[in-house]
């Protein structure tokens, strides 16, 4: 192979979000606001996160944080469900809430002229939701339909099974949307209780990005949420540590009548706080993302023609999420695909990456920043993640140097730390598989 290593891209770091262009304010109630201007289009986005998630519910209440988040917009103490949506939809705006394992996030989008309305409504439903019984029951029935569909979806069933195998008794083994049995027992009372103890300004982050002066955006958020208090807001409980696996565990789930099998294979990856996180992300890119799904794409899709999609992912949140490979393959090819994936992972941790692969992927991580920061969503996501994971407001300006400093040795050591070819969970869901 000719050496095509080239100098890494040079970015004008002043064009990236940084301390000079981000306004940040901490309110007396603990809420943190970030804002950045972008006048290239007349729209604005509000993006936020609260420390209320599935970790704050018991196993028997699975899906409670998710139901609560979805129920916020179903009525407030001053407006009905219909009035809330009439307000938002008649402006062509959107506002939605959703919960994951650690947090509840929200996202509002509107024309810049309608920002005060979106903030006012967000504040109203966050602080004074009514959770009307009838609305909560209807929503629960819609969620149950969604879970019924999920439980027939090969990709989702493979993922649920994988999480169970990999995380055992740890909360990460549980889906944040719960199970049919748990969700069917949730009531407006349980939702109200969850809201009272888990929602509050402490730990809440909010970013505003778009065609609004940053200082004005901060003032507007402060006006809407500055006097929010909840003395009953509880601290999120400490997460237990993850036990980990001792060897290969595999489970197959049968969904008769399906045409394709989905598989998930992998182990436990780093948290976003782990000092090796960025190195692991670069390794993951080489393994299963770069170009057409990295090395795994080369062997499973391009050479063997086995799958339409095969890709690896790292989900580094506040805790150690999975480092996993997913693929959709013909039922007859499941074992062959698994074999190829495991061989490639083994080769990866034995031999590491080439100088060319490292250079290409470093160039990609740096060069793609302008595209990631093109939309208001992209910038808002970056602001929230810098604040949430304490990366510093200059993170994206330091980022090109951070990426450039990663070596092949770092990648090899980090891959070996997290990827063990003989210690992995494997889950398969498809038509032919037998109940394992």
């Amino acid at each position: 192979m000719p050496d095509r290593r080239r100098p890494l891209p040079k970015l004008d770091i002043r064009s990236l979000p940084g301390p000079a262009t981000i306004e940040r304010r901490v309110l007396a109630n603990g809420l943190v606001i970030l804002a950045r201007e972008n006048f290239s289009s007349p729209s604005v986005i509000v993006s936020g996160s609260l420390t209320a998630g599935a970790l704050d519910e018991t196993k028997a209440q699975g899906g409670l944080a998710d139901l609560t988040a979805s129920a916020l917009m179903r009525g407030s103490t001053s407006r009905t469900f219909e009035q809330i949506y009439e307000t938002i939809e008649s402006l062509g705006a959107s506002l939605s809430f959703g919960a994951g394992t650690h947090s509840t996030s929200f996202r509002g989008k509107s024309l810049a002229e309608d920002l005060p309305m979106v903030l006012g409504l967000a504040s109203e439903v966050l602080r004074a939701p009514a959770f009307p019984k009838k609305q909560v029951e209807r929503l629960r029935a819609e969620k149950l339909t969604g879970l019924t569909i999920r439980d027939q979806d090969t990709g989702s069933v493979a993922q649920l099974t994988f999480d169970e195998l990999l995380y055992g008794d740890h909360p990460y083994s549980l889906p944040s949307d719960g199970f049919r049995e748990t969700v069917s027992r949730l009531t407006d009372g349980s939702v109200r209780g969850f809201h009272r103890r888990a929602y509050g300004p402490r730990g809440t982050l909010l970013a505003v990005v778009g065609a609004v002066r940053a200082r004005q955006a901060l003032d507007a958020v402060e006006a809407a949420l500055g006097d929010w208090r909840n003395p009953e807001q509880q601290m999120q409980s400490e997460m237990p540590s993850v036990a980990g696996l001792a060897g290969i565990v595999r489970r197959d789930r049968a969904l008769p009548g399906k045409s394709q099998s989905d598989l998930v294979i992998g182990g436990i990856g780093p948290s976003r706080y782990d000092p090796d996180y960025l190195t692991a992300a670069l390794a993951n890119s080489i393994l299963g993302r770069f170009g057409l799904m990295g090395r795994l794409g080369d062997v499973v899709r391009e050479s063997a023609g086995l799958a339409y999609s095969v890709a690896s992912s790292l989900s580094g949140g506040p805790g150690p999420g999975p480092w996993q490979v997913v693929a959709g393959v013909s039922p007859a090819n499941v074992d062959r695909a698994l074999d190829l994936i495991r061989k490639e992972i083994r080769r990866f941790v034995q031999r590491g990456v080439t100088p060319q692969e490292l250079n290409d992927n470093q160039a990609n991580f740096i060069g793609r920043l302008p595209l990631q920061m093109e939309s208001n969503e992209g910038v808002a996501g970056a602001l929230i993640s810098m604040e949430r994971f304490q990366l510093g407001l200059d993170f994206y300006q330091r980022y090109p140097d951070l990426v450039a400093s990663i070596t092949r040795e770092h990648i090899l050591a980090t891959s070996r730390r997290f990827l063990e070819p003989d210690v992995m969970a494997i889950a398969v869901a498809g038509p032919g598989a037998a109940e394992g």
Partner: protein, 430 residues
């Protein structure tokens, strides 16, 4: 209008559209070929999509696997899509790297190899893609509804093609299709972003200007779909516990004046749909069908959408029926709501809301340079860029009377296909 948009045609027939946007150091380049499932005939359905896959398998100059790495290396984003009327390829790159994208698009317009072993491997990839689609009950249902809607016109089959054709097409079939349709005179090159028009046009002339014009075969005339005389119904049975309803009405092509009142009708009935590829949408909880189906607890969700096409296509509405209800109950609720719409025309307030929603969706779409370049080319396939530029004005001119006339003309049973997905699994909540 066309403020700042350059429209020109090279001597070999390639249409070029350029739009400078200097908000971010990015350029998005799209090549649109006027070929999709609409141009396919029985026996080789899915061939356009398969050709699209083979366009990633290399030329002598850019061997397979080199292209994607080269684009990724520079921090670019690329993809390709095949649809009813077109096949499109795009790259969005840091402005300094767009040359690579243009060189590779010029190269694969003419020099793709279509090697036999690469084709055999890609055949299994596309079969796997189809099997993945078949895992979704909504795909199985939509495929039958589309086939029922079009007896004569090639919109009859799904873009991915029939499994039997995917299994039997040959490398030479694909190569012929490629040579016939991938010629400058059958393509639109649309580029938007951070460049100077004069310099960009010079680069394009240099890279694309010498490509040969010859090779394009004369297309057989696409047969018009005869008028449907009476409602059609189709039932699909399959795995799962959730029933679905898919109702499709024949509607005119995007160039028709009726397209605009139909867009407003869609907003009032099923919620505003975004025609953008990027930029997100808005919820539909104040739409008439949401109130009639979801609030009345017959369906868990409902949505609808129009598509901008060359020939008349479908306005379709899908509902996820609650497991404790039947598709027939959902259909009854739907029919009651349509009857109410025909009795009580949409209000001026509903029309004003649809106009504001269209304006907001356009603003969201304009955040992305990729989406702007998308419109620059896409609109040329089924109409022209003026269609896109005047879209908001034309929506703003729609009156409640126009919407009512469109509803009376199109939302009639004889003009529709009703599709029902009946799950064979148990229904635990029955």
């Amino acid at each position: 209008m066309s403020l700042g948009v350059l429209r020109t045609r090279l001597r070999n027939g390639l249409e070029v559209r350029l739009k400078e946007i200097h908000t971010a150091p990015l350029i998005s380049a799209w090549v649109w070929y006027r070929v999709g499932s609409r141009n396919e005939r029985p026996g080789t359905t899915g061939i356009s999509h398969l050709v699209e896959h083979m366009q990633f398998k290399g030329t002598p100059h850019f061997p397979a696997g080199v292209l994607d790495k080269a684009i990724s290396r520079d921090g670019g984003y690329w993809n390709a899509m095949t649809w009813l009327d077109w096949t499109a390829y795009f790259e969005t790159m840091p402005a300094g790297s767009i040359d690579l994208a243009l060189r590779l698009e010029a190269d694969r317009m003419v020099h793709s190899l279509f090697e036999t072993d690469e084709f055999e491997s890609e055949r299994t990839v596309v079969i796997a893609e189809r099997q993945g689609n078949e895992n979704e009950p909504t795909f199985r249902l939509a495929e039958e509804v589309q086939a029922t809607a079009f007896r004569v016109h090639p919109y009859h089959h799904e873009v991915i093609g029939h499994m039997a054709d995917l299994e039997t097409m040959t490398r030479d079939d694909l190569y012929r299709h490629y040579r016939a349709h991938y010629v400058p005179g059958n393509a639109v090159l649309a580029v938007a972003g951070d460049f100077q028009t004069r310099a960009m046009l010079a680069t394009i002339r240099e890279l694309f200007g010498h490509l040969p014009t010859s090779g394009r075969v004369r297309e057989p005339v696409t047969p018009a779909e005869p008028e449907q005389r009476g409602e059609k119904r189709v039932v699909v049975e399959g795995p799962g516990e959730t029933p679905y309803l898919d109702i499709a009405y024949h509607v005119p092509a995007a160039r028709s004046d009726d397209f605009f009142p139909l867009s407003v009708l869609d907003s009032a009935l099923a919620g505003a749909s975004s025609l953008n590829l990027f930029g997100g949408g808005i919820s539909n909880k104040t739409s008439r069908l949401y109130k009639a189906l979801v609030e009345r607890e017959v369906a868990a969700s409902v949505g609808g959408g129009l598509a901008a096409t060359i020939d008349p296509y479908l306005y379709s509405i899908q509902a996820t029926v609650r497991p404790d209800r039947t598709p027939e109950q959902a259909l009854q609720a739907f029919d009651d709501e349509v009857a109410r719409l025909l009795d009580h025309p949409v209000s001026a307030g509903e029309v004003a809301k649809a106009i504001k929603q269209a304006r907001a969706l356009f603003a969201y779409g304009s955040e992305s340079i990729t989406n702007q370049a998308f419109w620059l080319g896409y609109s040329e396939i089924f109409a022209d860029y003026a269609w896109f530029e005047t879209y908001l004005e034309r929506i703003a001119q729609v009156t409640p009377g126009d919407v009512h006339a469109a509803a009376q003309k199109y939302l009639v049973p004889a003009n529709r296909i009703v599709g029902i997905y009946r799950p064979t699994g148990e229904q635990p909540h029955a």
